[in-house]
């Protein structure tokens, strides 16, 4: 039964090689083919590298304040001109006027979506990215988001919900401590572990709906056709035990792995 399921289900491969310094990235993988979205929370330690290697940088509203205030401090480099986002997008109720003026004068496109109060700033950014990407480039699209976790819990929940709403896109939420991404139930997942920068702590969660059957390989405590449900068992404080973790489930799952050694 499992074999038939694997054969009929497409494999989705995941890799965090975007976290590696440029020198160490595999030559043929377009690891720097990502768009970076910066939300309004303290920037993670490894932001300068993430910024430098991105294809495009979008600040969601107050995320621009964070880049303005914190980026040059991180690099011990007072030249704000080096860190100019291509786009600043959102409802503009958090960005400081002088920050908006500065980036606008440096060429950032200001995309004011304040007329739309139905969706969060992250939702607007993801929606725009998707809208701007030609169809043939969509499969390679990867969006990395900083500042989505921690802070107000309803914001965090709304940001996690964006992963579910745009479940056909690769979106990774990053914090100083970990990354999270969605593993849609439509695919068999192969997660390649970059052990120099991630792990060993990991977890898998059936957020939004329970799973009656999940199977994994590559973890210290693997699941074998296991049920997972809030109120019962979910996989926390697991450990990656291999270079490759596989996951297959009848429910959308959230994958998380701890980050380390990142500067």
């Amino acid at each position: 039964m499992l074999w038939r399921t694997i054969r009929s289900m497409e494999v989705m491969a995941h890799s965090s090689n975007f976290l590696l310094p440029k020198l160490h990235q595999p030559a043929k993988t377009p690891a720097n083919n990502y768009t970076l979205v910066v939300l309004n929370q303290q920037l993670p330690r490894f932001m300068p590298r993430l910024w430098a290697q991105a294809k495009m940088r979008i600040c969601a509203d107050g995320g621009a304040n964070r880049v303005f205030d914190e980026m040059s401090q991180m690099k011990n480099d007072l030249d704000r001109n080096r860190y100019i986002p291509e786009i600043i997008e959102g409802d503009m109720d958090s960005i400081r006027p002088e920050v908006k003026r500065f980036y606008s004068s440096q060429g950032s496109k200001i995309s004011d979506k304040s007329h739309n109060q139905e969706t969060t700033d992250l939702h607007k950014c993801i929606s725009s990215i998707r809208h701007r990407t030609p169809d043939h480039e969509k499969p390679n699209l990867c969006v990395l988001v900083t500042g989505a976790l921690g802070g107000r819990f309803d914001h965090e929940a709304a940001n996690i919900n964006v992963l579910y709403v745009f479940s056909d896109m690769r979106i990774v939420l990053l914090s100083d401590d970990c990354l999270i991404q969605l593993l849609p139930k439509t695919h068999h997942h192969e997660i390649y572990i970059e052990s120099s920068v991630e792990g060993p702590h990991c977890g898998i969660f059936p957020i939004g709906a329970p799973s009656t059957s999940t199977t994994t390989t590559g973890l210290k405590w693997n699941l074998s056709d296991a049920e997972m449900r809030f109120g019962s068992m979910i996989s926390t404080s697991n450990i990656v035990d291999s270079d490759k973790v596989t996951v297959q489930s009848d429910a959308d799952l959230l994958w998380t792995i701890s980050l380390r050694n990142l500067t």
Binding site: G150, R152, D154, A157, N161, G208, P210, I234, D252, L254
Partner: protein
């Protein structure tokens, strides 16, 4: 079908001084006893207030380091040793892989109970602490026990999820997870909920999140964007960035929901 019983929620424990004379129907509130659990993250600014309010204080493993280091920092005008003696946990529980040996020694010599659960690798530190508290409740009975947890949100995401799962696993116990920014607790589907808002310390931002399973019908009053037999699910609508408009918010749902409300900066 008989109507659901009502569960009343109050965050009066966040008020700087004890609440004023209670209304006639608040006998239940009077008898509430509080327990505080401290997990291994930076203490929120209101930690000393809640500690003082509580009848029982438990540190989960490295949470003891946080109390040892953090309480004197939050009370800078006072002598650190006096603060540490005053803010002494009743118990330190967990697998003991994070608490510093000298911190464990210090509290142990003051009479803190040390409960080493390292043999039990199946449950999280918070889970162990909640079990301990429910088996050893402070106060006359555990029916009006409310457990306040500090340090459960933020940090490693799998820890946060494990902590939220504890709310679901102990759905018959009042447990509130608190950070500097938010307060969250479970609204079990078995009850109609009446949430009394203390506007001086919380709000206005709030939300209702069906973390474990979708809701096909939820109804609220007292919010700016009320739900009216509305369905909510991940991938679709969640109630986030909502606003409390009245002093009492009511919620009824066919699914367990997580309620969250923002905490004001001066709390």
């Amino acid at each position: 079908m008989p109507p659901l019983p009502t569960m009343v929620h109050s965050s009066s424990f966040l008020l700087p001084s004890p609440p004023p004379a209670p209304p006639a129907d608040a006998d239940a509130e009077n008898a509430v006893s509080y327990a505080v659990v401290v997990l291994n993250q930076r203490l929120p600014r209101f930690a000393p207030l809640l500690w003082t309010r509580a009848d029982l204080r438990v540190c989960a493993d490295g949470g003891a380091n946080r109390v040892f280091d953090g309480m004197p920092e939050l009370l800078p005008g006072e002598d650190p040793d006096e603060v540490r003696t005053r803010y002494k946990p009743d118990a330190i529980e967990g697998d003991m892989d994070s608490v510093r040996p000298e911190v464990k020694e210090y509290y142990s010599s003051l009479g803190t109970q040390i409960i080493d659960d390292s043999h039990d690798q199946d449950t999280t530190d918070l889970n162990k602490c909640i079990s301990f508290i429910t088996k050893n409740p402070p106060g006359p009975d555990s029916s009006n026990l409310c457990i306040l947890v500090l340090g459960a949100l933020g940090g490693r995401f799998d820890h946060e999820m494990g902590n939220i799962n504890v709310l679901y696993r102990f759905s018959n116990t009042r447990i509130i997870l608190l950070s500097d920014d938010s307060s969250i607790f479970l609204l079990p589907r078995t009850h109609n909920h009446e949430i009394r808002i203390e506007r001086s310390v919380e709000g206005p931002h709030c939300g209702l999140i069906p973390v474990g399973a979708p809701s096909s019908s939820s109804t609220t009053t007292g919010l700016r964007w009320n739900l009216d037999n509305t369905s909510m699910n991940f991938g679709g609508l969640l109630s986030t960035s909502n606003i409390v408009e009245e002093e009492i918010v009511t919620v009824t749902s066919d699914s367990d929901l997580i309620w969250t409300i923002s905490l004001r900066k001066h709390t």
